[in-house]
Amino acid sequence: EAEPAVSGSPGGACRTRRLYVSFREVGWHRWVIAPRGFLANYCQGQCALPATLSGPGGSPPLNHAVLRALMHAAAPGAGGLPCCVPARLSPISVLFFDNSDNVVLRHYEDMVVDECGCR
């Protein structure tokens, strides 16, 4: 269940978009006990100037990304724009049955996009 993707340019600045991952949708609901799904989110949007400089979502852009955006503004097409990617992620815990019918609680890092940035 995702927020509609932005296609092509201009499309808006790079930012976090809503994406809910349902374990039923991916067919894991018989062995994943909890949660039923989680808000994973994703990143999409343009990393052109000035959005690249402002650091959407509060995440400072990499110097490299700023220079690439500057280069692109000066000579479009040379190397393209920086990428809009996760800049800060958070973990989730998943409770599930394993193949030996043990009940397992596992902690997974980097499962939820909290913040996107131009990289």
Binding site: L39, S90, S93, D98, N99, Y108, E109
Partner: protein, 224 residues
């Protein structure tokens, strides 16, 4: 001989998530132990964030640490006793002699890279209380009936059977700082300290906490 087929995308994805096998589908129905629900609710940041009860621990949760159990770890398993279905009916107990039960835990799902930090044996007994209390003893059990048991690994006093009896196996059943064995077979005995009726082992389980360093990011480095 033909080389094994490369894993498909689904298997590769599960391997990346630390699940070596494609899940076989529907598990055998069994209830989820309350301790696992408690640990899940404590650990789950999304539940803490969006749930009606905002948890004060949200900001203080340490990565790769199980706060409720006070140990390092990122995987907690509740492993049921596999010996119960094959356990023989207890014979008529001779005076002063209480039975010994064999409990078996299958740890084959634990990967060699995982480092156990807690292995808590949990035993539920049915018994009339003994005024002087009980003594729990645990020995390594050998394979096969009548094969005997090894030396005592652990001995501890038990004051009441009203709550589950817990015993830490790490450092007793196997060494700390080593991988978990493929399986653990233990001979469990509970004897009253003064003449009293014997207890009956109703349920046994193992709560195993491990740390898989591959899933544990090092602490964030300061920005340069």
């Amino acid at each position: 001989t033909r080389a094994p087929a490369p894993p498909g995308p689904a298997a590769a994805l599960l391997q990346a998530l630390g699940l070596p096998d494609v899940h076989r589908g529907a598990p055998t129905p069994r209830s989820v132990p309350p301790v696992m629900w408690r640990l899940f609710r404590h650990r789950d940041p999304q539940e803490a964030r969006v749930g009606p009860r905002r948890m004060p621990q949200e900001t203080t949760l340490r990565p790769c640490h199980v706060e409720e159990l006070g140990v390092a770890g990122n995987i907690v398993r509740h492993i049921p006793d596999r010996g119960a279905p094959t356990r023989l009916p207890e014979p008529a107990w001779a005076a002063g002699q209480c039975p010994e039960w064999t409990v078996v835990f299958d740890l084959s799902a634990v990967e060699p890279a995982e480092r156990p930090s807690r292995a808590r044996l949990e035993l539920r007994f049915a018994a009339v209380e003994a005024p002087a209390g009980w003594e729990l003893s645990i020995r390594q059990a050998a394979e096969g009936q009548g094969a005997g048991a090894g030396p005592v690994l652990l001995r501890q006093a038990v004051h009441t059977l009203g709550t589950p009896v817990r015993a830490e196996l790490l450092g007793a059943a196997w060494s700390r700082n080593t991988s978990a064995p493929r399986s653990v077979r233990l001979a469990v005995a509970l004897r009253p300290r003064a003449p009293a009726a014997c207890a009956h082992l109703a349920e046994a389980s193992l709560l195993l906490v491990t740390l898989d360093p591959r899933l544990c990011h090092p602490l964030a480095r300061p920005r340069r």
